[in-house]
Amino acid sequence: MTLDTLRIRQDFPIFERQVRPGVPLVYLDSTATTQKPQSVLRAMDEFYRRSNANIHRGVHTLAEEATALYEAARQKVAAFIHAADARQVIFTRNASEAINLAAYAWGRAHLKAGDLILLTEMEHHSNLVPWQMLAAATGASLDFVPVTDDGLLDLDAYRSLLTRQPRLVAFTHMSNVLGTINPAAEMIRLAHAAGARTLVDAAQSVPHLPVDVQALDADFLAFSAHKMLGPTGIGVLYGKRDLLESMPPFLGGGDMIKTVHLRDFVPNELPHKFEAGTPAIAEAVGFGAAVDYLSALGMDAVAAHEREIIAYALERLEEIRGVRVFGPPAEQRGGVASFTLEGVHPHDVAQILDTFGIAVRAGHHCAQPLHEKFGIPATTRASFYVYSTKEEVDQLVEGLYRVKKIFG
């Protein structure tokens, strides 16, 4: 294996627990949220024990320390995605809020009735509903790049949709259901050539692949800390400087202002303009530690590890009669496998696997339209990360054989 998973697993306290007495945890739900290494837990604990204070305004020692830690985390995250300037990294509550921020602040200022927003059929609800809301508010319309039976975007259809000159193309870099890794750089280049701005939902790509926002030339890019070893409650909207500068604020409150009078205010500079109120300070510190952890592993190694695991998982799953895995071959996907097992509802699959300590997800994974496209109400999803092993894939397969036996 590319990564030393045995050593890595020792960094994650949760693997010490048993789901039930005698039943160890086989965690195959990292696409929903990842487990947290000791270094992240320690960084947050340390923050509360030693440096806890509110940021940006205080002049006392703790406030200075807390501010420095919070801004250092922003620097780390910016470096991790190769942003030109840390001020382009806006901390939000999660990827959903980041997309809502862009849809609200940029979308309402720049879109009008008749404008086209181009999305894809494989979007997570978080990159779908904010645009539906924006379309309802502005009179803009939506269209969708179709998904092929192999679970890839139909790029010919994309090119022809671009001739309708959308104002914005918003798409997922990596599908949370199919695992498909979309050709983001190429899609952005084509969008720009057609005069459109772009938003990349990178909630699954930044945790799993090397992502360089400048090489991609993305206008906006959104992701969440908790899907990349960090805590819940903090995410990122990255944006091009001129776009962020030109946008009105999103939420109003403390910290996002330069001056306030009774009847008006002057917004603060980037990135604070978009960070109203006390942010998730300890979470930012934990996020920084998560980025350090991933950087030490190396994102090329992380991606290679997942390719190896998913190739093995697809091979093993496909040997089970009655299993149908959705999505492209291993070379075009990240560490996600959504599947159905003939004659057994995904909820029953997941529930029985749980009795063996295997945590998978069942449902539509916040991508109901995609499931409708494939004509299925739900799938079972196994997903992998830096701590996942081939032995866990074997345990999943063994579990599925037991499900089959129970349902005979």
Partner: protein, 131 residues
Amino acid sequence: MEDLYREIIIDRYKNPQYRGHLDPHDISFEDDNPLCGDHIEVTLRVDAEGRVSEARFDGKGCAISQASADLLIESIIGKSLEEVKKMTKQDLLDLLGIELGPVRLKCALLSLKVLKAGVYGLGEASDELVE
């Protein structure tokens, strides 16, 4: 082993006794659980004394939702509509004979929710019916 998947649940899922659709019927209702795509329809015939003389369910979904519908329908035949209205979450769990977490509880209770909404003649099924 898997307590949730007692033999009776797997058996009723694979070989339901009351699956079908009554036509004509006196009462019908259907609803789904959007989270997992479970769908249940019930159709009832009611005799002159206000008792359920015949009942069927139809639908698709997980073993818990379908087996619970089959057991529930079996249990109401011969009951008065007033008795059906008084059925509780616990009555259904007793039929199933298992303990369920909050997510799977919704699967199990879908049939009771649909049945009570139909018997009460409501426009939509509400979770309050099975609290």
